[in-house]
Subunit: 561 residues, 2 copies
């Protein structure tokens, strides 16, 4: 994906009475969801999430939306609406609040509690506005109405945003489980009511637009878990997302049913389940919960571990168990359940974990061989219901890679949204809703902002390119000391290489060539350090390439004394 | 996977009359298949393939089996039997023949033709022994009987190996398409005949042991392709494996049916299809084939490209088309068919290609949304047939990761093979068949041998570890020039960093600390270069870690003048 969009120029000023929508993330990718709404010089933000890096972004911890588009207008931000508490929707909030601490955060009770406990780790105390289902709250010119949606975390909300420019319905992430564990349905009736009133723009979750049909109910996992527990005679370890309260509830219920104690493993699991329990979203019978130390000591057949690490994260407890690098030793007869999706990009890592666990004799139950996971996102069949109930004048698929956005756009077209009213945008594309019509009018900067260690934005595309070369080929550095008056070599060449696969002794072959080249240059009166560097790079580079057919990074260092 | 196996010691001498089997690759991984059979001090090798590297093996081109186990006994190798011409079965042959050129290669007509054209690129003319179906050929003490099997390349063979120690049936890669395009069935009747005779050890393909049921026939792809062609009004591009002659034949037939010309794209596709056509395995009607230059110039609706790149290889034509970095420009209305499996590890790369193509408006047809691929490996239902027809005394699952080997072992147990006669081995594990019983007796070295550029084996695990650190964190190098007599700093510190994300100007902060540390060391009489290096590493490392919470590689260079 290219960012920003070379084919689109900067947008014209927003016409009076128009609503401008710019996604700074979430379009053309699954992650770092963030949409900025602008009306009459005031801003409303929906979600502010992170994206997790891929292997071609080595060493990066997190990827943020680029706040540059709003950086000099942060004082005009009325609020950040958080549709739910997944990392790809809330993970960048701490970084946004670093730039302006008192932006109000709006969300459901659980969403606010989870973001608050996250912000506490960043020592930030947010300004909160709790939103109830069906409540209307105005933030400047934006009147927001909050609607219940069902997702893989409790208490998720859709938001209808009313301005004089029209009504926008943003679904957030949702699916339409018709028998949800907590009885809280996606409020399709409210969608219909809004549709009757007239929705000028529908922004709807595209994640599963390529998947035909309907979701299986979360509650259908329960009998499968019970069967797994029934046939398990050793330890049971269940890995799932640290925010999936209902999944954890089902595991807890199965554990109690089969007389096992439960320990939570992993920092975010312990933190989130603590919050969920305190607020009454998670019910844990007394005496069930133990800590991980106790779990190590109990007989395996009395224990359930509920752990993070379902995506094969190398430092997670689960990966370490798979490598026998954890106090809990996987033994023949243990059962490991990966009760989670397989997030694209993590296939190899998860496969390694499955093979590692299997090698030690564990039975591994995963969505490939048992119904231990259902998706949190509406597939095509449900998306059609939403399109037909809302009958939007304009449609903009959100929350998806290009393949998902296009598939969702095709569904909208099938339900009768005219082609010219379907807007497929990617990050940074500026969409104006003016006179009831949504149109792309330009693009703004919306590139990746990398978090690595303590700093945000230090890592540039150039640094990543260097990392990719270093990671693939290693480097060879050549240090020479040159007399600054005569230009003659007085020390070195010292040659060091790492990751190049070249035997250090082999450098003796090229040292004479470097010395000869430098002597010739000195005789010709070449004293420019840049030129000497270039000479060394050329000499060593061509030797390596000819001898080894490799292209390590060549680093000539010239010290003048 | 750990190599070699710490828990197993070196094997005892092979008892007289026993058969020893050591897989140097292919067990615990999918790739670099190679099994060494030893009887009476003579060796027979079945397959000699490569493994493709994963992202944690950066910069590596190929991974070979380690030939060390047989290196000083190469003169005792009677032959290499090649079951079929896939890279994971023949790719390491050029490297083995570099060590001894005249090892006879045994295989079917197509297998030998394809390995011969591959070896020609390495300037090696092999010794060939063509094997016919149902033929018996003896290689020293090994009497081999070759049996037809159906796979995703024509002319694949299973091999039954008879020695006085017993009969081993090695299936090679196979499935049991009951209506194969060329009418050549997996010879289950011969398997049954061998079973009646008595099979002492069955070694059978485990790739799809986790997949329930049976394969869909290759010929069912044809109507799907026809429908794709019928509804395509612009260019059609089909990506598939360069050895899948039957898949290519079906695309060619559909192209002819719809009046389109066909160009092959990609070096291995052009080479293999040339061989297949010359030998009569591929039928191309006159006037159908054009070259890629002609394809660029014809109207899109008259063209089909059959291309490599189905695994998202970044330099392939298909990836470059997805990035608009290829003479053929993808336009709205083009159709791209990925008529291939998705090899584990390539998910992210293929997803990028699909998104890239979709972004430009192409319709992408793949196995996720249409029946344009069937696997080449027998799933559980078919594996059960083989187990039941052969009724082996001992069973050893081959060709699979741990998860596949264990799943296949479980199938064998279900069909009645006693647990103690099922041998799950990984690479390097030594299995002896003695007195009709197969047992693990030890392990030998069977680690990864990396090919990078021109050299084999130069890249060690240490170099890869360096690459991973460099790739994740970059490096900081600090050069100081020290007077060898006084120990005083006479030049530098010159600080260079790449991939670290640290602004070069920031190094001014740490330079005084380095100078102070060196001055103090000189005052204390420290003159040892190692100690000075350690001092610099510590000073800079702790500064970077404290300031940036990062751990780049710190490279101190001390030049004495």
């Amino acid at each position: 994906m290219s960012h920003p969009h070379p084919e689109l120029g900067p947008p014209p000023p927003l016409p009076e009475g128009g609503l401008r929508i710019v996604a700074l993330g979430g379009l053309g990718e699954i992650g770092r969801n963030m949409a900025v709404f602008e009306y009459d010089d005031r801003l409303l933000i929906v979600d502010c999430g992170v994206l997790f890096p891929e292997t071609d972004q080595p060493g990066v911890d997190l990827i943020l939306p680029d706040f540059e588009y709003i950086r000099d207008r942060l004082d005009k931000v009325e609020a950040v609406v958080l549709t739910h508490a997944h990392e790809d929707h809330i993970g960048a909030v701490p970084y946004l609040l670093r730039e302006r601490r008192d932006i109000p955060l709006v969300g459901s009770r659980l969403t606010l509690a989870l973001i608050e406990s996250k912000l506490a780790e960043h020592r930030i105390q947010p300004v909160k506005v709790q939103a109830e289902e069906n409540e209307r709250i105005s933030f400047g010119p934006f009147e927001c109405e909050f609607l219940a949606v069902n997702h893989s975390i409790p208490d998720a909300l859709a938001v209808a945003i009313r301005t004089p420019a029209g009504v926008v319905l943003h679904t957030g992430d949702f699916k339409m489980d018709q028998l949800p564990l907590d009885g809280r349905l996606t409020d399709l009736a409210a969608f219909a009511r809004l549709g009757a009133e007239g929705i000028d723009l529908l922004m709807s979750d595209s994640t599963n637009a390529e998947v035909p049909g309907f979701v299986t109910s979360e509650r259908e996992i329960s009998p499968v878990l019970n069967e797994v527990f029934r046939s398990a005679d050793q330890r049971v370890i269940v890995a799932c997302f640290a925010s999936h309260v209902h999944r954890v509830q089902q595991v807890l219920d199965a554990a109690v049913e089969h007389g096992r104690k439960v320990a939570f493993i992993g920092r975010s699991m312990v933190r989130n389940m603590g919050v969920a329990r305190d607020l009454g979203y998670l019910r844990i019978p007394g005496g069930t919960l133990i800590d991980s130390r106790e779990a190590e000591e109990l007989p395996p057949e009395e224990v359930v571990l509920i752990s993070t690490g379902s995506q094969g994260e190398p430092m997670s407890a689960l990966s370490r168990m798979a490598n026998r690098d954890h106090p809990i030793r996987i033994e023949r007869g243990d059962t490991v359940v990966l009760a989670s999706s397989l997030v694209p990009g993590n296939e190899t890592a998860v496969n390694k974990v499955i093979n590692g666990l299997t090698r030690w004799g564990a039975r591994v139950v995963h969505k490939g061989n048992a119904l231990v996971h259902v998706s949190g996102h509406a597939p095509a069949g449900e998306l059609l219901y939403v399109l037909n109930m809302t009958r939007p004048s304009n449609f903009m698929p959100v929350h998806g890679e290009w393949r998902h956005l296009r598939a969702h756009a095709a569904l909208a077209a099938l339900t009768g949204v005219p082609d010219e009213n379907i807007v497929i945008a990617e990050d940074g594309v500026v969409v104006d809703l003016v006179d009831g019509r949504a149109r792309i009018v330009g693009a703004v900067q919306a590139g990746y902002v990398y978090v690595d260690g303590a700093s945000v934005g230090d890592i540039t595309e150039i640094a990543l390119k260097d990392r990719r070369i270093l990671g693939d080929e290693g480097f060879v550095s050549i240090v020479v000391v040159i007399d600054s008056t005569s230009g003659k070599l007085t020390g070195g060449p010292e040659i060091h290489a790492r990751g190049s696969g070249i035997d250090p002794a082999a450098f003796d072959e090229v040292r004479p060539a470097i010395e000869a080249a430098l002597a010739e240059a000195a005789a010709d009166g070449v004293a420019d350090v840049q030129q000497i560097r270039r000479l060394i790079r050329r000499t060593v580079g061509s030797w390596v390439n000819t001898t080894y057919r490799r292209r390590p990074m060549i680093i000539p260092v010239v010290v003048e004394v």
